[in-house]
Point group: C2
Chain length 201, copies 2
């Protein structure tokens, strides 16, 4: 698997199984694109990377490189190994879904990270899964001192990426967020990619 | 139902059905106590108050009085009517659970808000439910500019409370958090209460 590259077309997602110890890169191919990343235990998809458990484990809104993402069973699932991006990421905002686009005035179907997640997991044979709070790579959400949140466009350049390592056998889903009605993807969703790097040995 | 008072003993939880429009008070009886509050749609307990959907709806870490808590289906479920407390609340930290206490060195059983939630919902005839990120009333979690989180004791005095109004028929669970191994409850969990106030008309 090492060296495999899985392109993720704009507005779509791909799922991949990663063995414990396996490392992978998530790449923003053209820049300015948010990636909704999810990780489920391969043995039990009811165990998954959980923002609220990660925050308690590390006392931070988002891990620093070297720290872990933790599951809802309080076990490490992904190690945040390297950050080759401006270092702006979010774990506060829910995955976009049909009700989000309806509220934004969309009539009819609009792709969403929630649907992308379910389709990608279904493609690997998993039935509907809980949609966790995603790891929103490259998403710029700032917290003001009074608790207000402000949003900006993803500050990434073409080729910016993060490297993660699986701490348990897991299924990772990367969704190239199809949000085109606000500036988080600069109103122009673009592709991303998952590159499998082999284990850390 | 109006005027009913439901005592919640220290370290326990109680669940109560609230009709749409019903108002209730959550009281910190002795002060210095965190309440993990959950709200589920009475029609479908897979719809529940969701921190990550609330944040997106209101662009804040926590609602201000007058704002709503939103569900994972992006519908309002509770209106935050009044705050008669220091105004310090959290929606970043997961409910405590057996794995949390195990990680803190507890051997054997320790009560937790997760178990409390399941017991309280079971008492009303609901099977195991998803444990959402709670609305941690009176919990002091501060976000530093670099994303670090710091914790302090609940700053409430005896009798401090909030008033909420149900925006849909719901089941509300209030857990008097049994955390006694850090300072959030001043190392001394104490009782809380739910007072039903009738509708807003």
């Amino acid at each position: 698997m090492a060296g495999s590259y899985i392109p993720v077309p704009a507005r779509e997602a791909r799922a991949v199984r990663i063995d414990a110890g396996g490392r992978f890169r998530v790449v923003d191919v053209e820049g300015g694109q948010v990636v909704d990343l999810f990780a489920f235990s391969a043995r039990d998809v009811e165990e998954y990377a959980s923002a609220e458990h990660t925050r308690v484990a590390i006392d931070r809104l988002f891990p620093r490189p070297g720290q872990m993402f933790w599951t809802n069973h309080r076990r490490p699932i992904l190690r945040f190994e390297q950050d080759r991006s401006p270092g702006v990421h979010d774990m506060l905002c829910a995955a976009c879904d049909p009700s989000r686009y309806a509220a934004l005035g969309v009539e009819g179907w609009h792709g969403s990270c929630q649907e992308n997640l379910q389709l990608a997991m279904g493609g690997l044979g998993f039935g509907p899964v809980h949609t966790p709070q995603p790891i929103n790579l490259f998403m710029d959400v700032r917290v003001e001192p009074d608790g207000a949140l402000s949003w900006g466009p993803a500050p990434t350049a073409a080729g910016d990426h993060v490297i993660l390592q699986a701490e348990m056998g897991c299924v990772v889903v990367a969704s190239a967020c199809p949000q085109d009605l606000n500036e988080i993807n600069r109103f122009n969703p673009t592709p991303v990619g998952i590159e499998l790097l082999g284990d850390g040995g």
